[in-house]
């Protein structure tokens, strides 16, 4: 059976809506909106769907959770804690876990979804970074993304403090220790946040309203803006056959992409349900109620806070006293500097790159990471920086698992945090150049066909054939990285704006950033070191193929 006319109920509703808000024009434009097909474009959707699941499961949890630090005596189903004094928040979290059917499941799904939300944002962001998809006109969406990530960290922090168990209390205590270390305002901020001295009786209810209202509200608004901008500006696409800067190639939103998206949402939810069922997370009943007098060894925050924890552990004991005031650098630097470097660096990168390259064009075709080696190396360097801090956030686990002395892990980390990113930069850069050379070779010499041929004089060769059309199109998608015009004119005078120190720095950066484009050309002509008659085989089809001299 197939439809010849729009079914009555749908036609009626849509006519009603169209008469009032003119939805037809919007639908006409957007039902067949084109969505490029590439697996990496689905990473952001994981974060989006996790957010939806967080809203759903979080709402469920609020029906029972009591954000109060008032003291109660536990009388619930969890035997070992019966009769113990605890906060109402912790008691209600236990109630959700043991006395509400499905409560434990939803709590665990909520926690797993929070981890997946942040993880999804991170990998999505890395995709956008390494492919250069943040370039004009998408800088605003990139900044919204950086804001989203920052807010998500804050949302996570306020969220896992809520159950008021011993572990979450340790996190809260560290938060307080960091807040109070701020120069000038630290004590005031702390007293206003906690309603007086730590821990006070207000922080849980305050974190609660931040966690369930303020931050999710902002997240929702920013996510909507993120989606709208993405929709208006259309997707980027990987270079390939038929793909240009002025078109977008892919599958239609309705019906294919719609169904696939629905399936993808269900997959995300299903996997989270599996994790919530089989992978225990944050078993608060084992930790006991919070008291500032106790802590358990091996206290770890959620993974996305690990880099801050690592930074705190790595820092040497620097503290400055002057004129009766104290500057606790051993807290301030690790709490502010890595986060500052990463978030500010991310937010400014599109603008810095535009300044360096002088590239003011719109970009809709993404770069393959190898084709912009400096950007890729900077990204890898950043990942290494983050990764070392993150690993060091678990140095006690590393120490006990691998039987390395605890202090050694810290001391190695103190060196690695500077050396690691530099090595990573170099290695990533060489790998990019190497991959580009391989691309070049693919274009110039073709790909191995697996066919061995014996020549009349007895030599064996493998026949090389031209790469498949789509592969060739992908490889040839490499574009030269633009550079600003900085060379002196005929009379040796550099262009205006390039004469001051800042201009000279810019010219130097621009030259370096775009340098490799000169070295490797992928337009099918021979680049450096490939003179004619060089002895290398050319590309041919079938019998015309010449030998690769081995």
């Amino acid at each position: 059976m197939s439809l010849d006319t729009v079914p009555k109920p749908i036609a009626g509703t849509s006519t009603f809506l169209d008469d009032r808000i003119g939805a037809g024009n919007f639908l006409k434009r957007n039902l067949r909106k084109v969505f490029p097909d590439h697996w990496s474009f689905l990473l952001g959707e994981i974060a989006l769907y996790s957010f939806v699941i967080l809203l759903l499961t979080g709402t469920f949890l609020t029906f029972w959770f009591k954000p109060s630090m008032g003291e109660v005596v536990y009388k619930g189903a969890y035997e070992p804690l019966v009769g113990v004094h605890m906060s109402e928040a912790y008691a209600s979290a236990l109630h959700i876990s043991f006395d509400v059917r499905g409560g434990l499941l939803i709590r665990q799904i909520h926690h797993w979804a929070a981890l997946l939300f942040v993880a999804g944002m991170m990998v999505h962001m890395l995709r956008v970074f390494f492919t250069g998809a943040y370039r004009k006109p998408r800088e605003l969406n990139w900044i919204i993304g950086v804001l989203l990530l920052t807010l998500a960290l804050l949302e996570g922090l306020t969220g896992y403090s809520l159950p008021d168990d011993l572990l979450s209390g340790a996190g809260l205590r560290i938060t307080e220790g960091v807040a109070i270390s701020l120069p000038l305002v630290g004590t005031y901020i702390t007293f206003f946040l906690f309603g007086g001295e730590y821990p006070g009786e207000d922080v849980i209810s305050r974190f609660y309203s931040l966690h369930i209202l303020l931050i999710p509200g902002i997240l929702l608004a920013l996510i909507s803006a993120h989606m709208i901008l993405m929709w208006v500006q259309k997707h980027t696409q990987m270079p390939g056959k038929g793909r240009t800067e002025t078109n977008v190639v892919g599958a239609p939103f309705y019906p294919t992409f719609m169904v696939k998206s629905g399936a993808y949402f269900l997959f995300t939810f299903g996997v989270l349900a599996l994790l919530g069922t089989f992978a225990q997370i944050n078993p608060i009943w084992l930790f006991g109620p919070y008291t500032p007098a106790d802590i358990s060894a091996g206290s770890q925050p959620d993974f996305y806070m690990g880099f801050l924890e690592g930074a705190l552990r790595l820092m040497p004991a620097w503290e400055i006293n002057f004129l009766g005031y104290t500057l606790p650098l051993s807290v301030l630097i690790p709490a502010l500097v890595p986060m500052g470097i990463i978030m500010t660096g991310l937010a400014l990168y599109p603008f810095a790159e535009r300044w360096i390259t002088g590239d003011n064009r719109e970009h809709h075709l993404t770069d393959r990471p190898r084709n912009n080696p400096h950007r890729t190396s900077i990204g890898i360097s950043g990942i290494t920086f983050y990764g070392i801090l993150w690993l060091l956030g678990a140095n006690d686990e590393i120490s006990s698992t691998f039987h390395i002395p605890l202090y050694t892990t810290t001391e190695v980390g103190r060196v690695a945090i500077f050396v690691g990113p530099a090595i990573a930069y170099f290695v990533a850069y060489r790998m990019c150049i190497g991959l580009q050379r391989r691309d070049q070779e693919t274009l110039l010499h073709g790909v191995e066909s697996g066919v061995i041929k014996r020549l009349p004089h007895g030599e064996y060769i493998e026949v090389h054939v031209p790469p498949a059309e789509d592969l060739a199109a992908l490889v040839q998608g490499k574009k030269r990285i633009p550079a600003i015009e900085a060379a002196p004119d005929g009379e040796g005078v550099p262009p205006k704006g390039m004469r001051n120190p800042l201009g000279r720095l810019r010219a130097k950066l621009s030259e370096t950033y775009s340098a490799d484009s000169e070295a490797i050309s992928l337009d099918g002509h021979h680049g450096d070191g490939h003179g004619e008659g060089h002895g290398h085989a050319g590309v041919g089809a079938g019998d015309e193929t010449k030998a690769i001299g081995h």
């Binding site: 197939s2 439809l3 729009v6 009626g12 006519t15 939805a23 639908l27 067949r32 189903a77 035997e79 059917r101 499905g102 434990l104 006109p137 205590r173 220790g177 960091v178 109070i180 701020l182 120069p183 305002v185 630290g186 004590t187 005031y188 007293f191 206003f192 946040l193 001295e197 821990p199 207000d202 038929g242 078109n247 977008v248 190639v249 599958a251 239609p252 309705y254 019906p255 294919t256 169904v259 629905g262 949402f265 269900l266 997959f267 299903g270 996997v271 349900a273 599996l274 069922t277 008291t291 500032p292 106790d294 802590i295 060894a297 705190l312 552990r313 006293n321 005031y325 104290t326 807290v331």
Partner: protein, 381 residues
């Protein structure tokens, strides 16, 4: 959207209408009429281009997505196979959904074991239901829907210069109409009036908490207050705490449940051999080689709870600041910058350990107003 069938099912192709119309590849199965949004008969029919009225209304006819290349319809047999597969998966979802409701009714909670069973049943059925439906939808999209590639044109994001000019003109006109620039007094008083309004929210937040004052410099410890064992709430008789290497977590008498007090006043109490004590320890503040230190780490305030008997090291599990308990808890490793403050202790006439006074320096993490309290304390002594 209207119920005009042409909106969804554009009419017949008019010959020579669009050069972009790709032809259906010979040998591929014909599309079933009306099944596709692309048109009733031409598999490769670009939507919208066929609809003369729609195209005429459209400022950018090139905006319409155009199908390029081959449109692959699944052959009826594999489509039927796909349908069977998807339906099977949807049936699994249906059963798992029923199973979820059944689990909710059957498996009650109320103990650890019963909660575990309920969690397994509910979570398992939910996961199966969701994953199976997801899989069914993928089968539907991949094995029943036609595959083709659409191309849509982009336009620069920027508006045309005429539009920009027009907007700029309107803005200037409006600004002049408003008289905001001409009427200086209006403008200045308005800005003046806004300033306090902007401050109001900040003022309102003042009652979030009291001002710090000197509260961070004191704890509840005072002369005569007994040291109580954390947890058991028993006072400690000095004569009973006599095995060297022993350690106790200690809270102030009468404040055992006061978290605010505990956050600053919790102690670790360590019994040493007299010969182990080094000069860093203030011997006047010890009793019979029992030393009391603040348990609150001077880094960010975690309880420095781990003690290694042989080396006399106190280790904070949060960031691994390590203090030498035998030498005034001075820092040996880690990010903490100051030793754990020592509390002067003695015994009352019943032989129970008591505080001699409060700490002479602020305990816990450093803060701006703290200053070098240790130097000040030394100066006073």
């Amino acid at each position: 959207m209207t119920d005009n069938p042409n909106e969804i099912n554009p009419g017949e192709i008019e010959p020579g209408e669009s050069p972009r119309v790709p032809r259906r590849v010979i040998g591929t199965p014909p599309p079933r009429g009306g099944d596709s949004l692309l048109g009733p008969d031409a598999g490769a029919r670009p939507r919208g281009d066929g609809n003369g009225a729609a195209a005429a209304h459209d400022a950018h006819p090139a905006d319409e997505p155009v199908a390029v290349g081959e449109i692959k319809y699944p052959d009826p047999q594999s489509a039927r196979k796909g349908e069977r597969r998807a339906s099977l998966l949807f049936l699994v979802t249906f059963l798992a959904g029923i199973g979820f409701v059944a689990s909710y009714v059957i498996f009650q909670v109320g103990s650890v074991e019963r909660t575990a069973t309920s969690n397994l049943a509910l979570g398992g059925s939910l996961a199966v239901a969701l994953l199976s439906m997801a899989a069914g939808m993928v089968v539907w999209a991949r094995q029943i829907m036609p595959k083709y590639t659409l191309v849509q044109q982009r336009h620069p994001m920027a508006s045309s210069p005429e539009v920009r000019e027009d907007v700029a003109k309107t803005f200037i006109e409006g600004a002049n109409e408003s008289g905001f620039l001409r009427h200086k007094m209006l403008r200045r008083t308005l800005l003046l009036a806004s300033a306090p309004l902007g401050l109001l929210p900040l003022v309102l937040l003042k009652d979030l908490g009291p001002l710090p004052g000197t509260s961070l410099r004191h704890t509840v410890w005072k002369k005569g207050l007994r040291l109580m064992v954390e947890g058991t709430r028993q006072p400690i008789r000095a004569a009973d705490f006599n095995s060297p290497g022993g350690i106790l977590s200690v809270v102030p008498e009468g404040h055992e449940d006061d978290l605010n007090a505990l956050a600053k006043a919790t102690l670790i109490l360590i019994k040493f051999r007299p010969e182990d004590l080094k000069p860093g320890v203030n011997l006047n503040w010890t009793h019979d080689s029992i030393v009391a230190y603040s348990k609150i780490c001077t880094h960010v305030g975690c309880p420095a709870a781990l003690y290694e008997q042989t080396t006399h090291h106190i280790l904070c599990p949060c960031h691994q600041s390590t203090f030498d308990a035998a030498d005034g808890a001075k820092v040996i490793f880690g990010p903490a910058a100051r030793p754990l403050p020592q509390l002067p202790i003695g015994v009352d006439n019943e032989g129970y350990l008591i505080a001699q006074s409060d700490f002479n320096v602020p305990v816990g993490p450093s803060f701006w107003e703290r200053g070098d309290a240790e130097a000040e304390a030394r100066g006073q002594a």
